[in-house]
Amino acid sequence: MALTKADMAGRLFDELGLNKREAKEMVELFFNRTRLALEQGSQVKLSGFGNFDLREKGERPGRNPKTGAEIPITARRVVTFRPGQKLKARVEAYAGSE
């Protein structure tokens, strides 16, 4: 079981009284606008939840795992997530097994 966009829209319908279409659009916009900011090179800070940061990585040597041939891994920008204090504290309390 995993939380999905459909689950989130369902709760906006149940709890906030948005209609089904509005609820779905709201969830889509939330993730699309967050993605757009990252794609345009801006960090996204969602207080109480966490920050989506951007990190730039230089070119480094790599290998094709199948053939063993050396190929450089090009310089790239990647997204990392740093959970906020509040989220970390809530998750730390989870005692489930793993």
Binding site: M1, A2, L3, T4, K5, D7, M8, R11, L12, E15, L16, L18, E22, A23, E25, M26, V27, L29, F30, F31, R33, T34, R35, A37, L38, E39, Q40, G41, S42, Q43, V44, K45, L46, S47, G48, F49, G50, F52, L54, E56, A75, R76, R77, V78, V79, T80, F81, P83, K86, L87, K88, R90, V91, E92, A93, Y94, G96, E98
Partner: protein, 103 residues
Amino acid sequence: MTKSELIDVIAKEQSHLAYRDVELAVKCILEQMSQALASGERIEIRGFGSFSLHYRPPRQGRNPKTGTTVALAGKHVPHFKPGKELRERVNNGFQKEREQAAE
């Protein structure tokens, strides 16, 4: 971009909704995500990425002030894995910036 800037952007696009409703909706989405992770549930958003918990085993820590060792219990930490579309879009944006800078 901060949470309030995200709310502003969405409110502009959903101009038929009251600003307060957009604000509540964004908070409701974030609260659902936090609740899911706090109860050990994964989050899967196609095109964006997935959130899950990673386990950190118990370890011996040290009180930096006194130097005494303390036993730290195992814990879970949130982890985000960007989806393919997010990874590609973010990197394409970066490559475009580099090309423009090189011109």
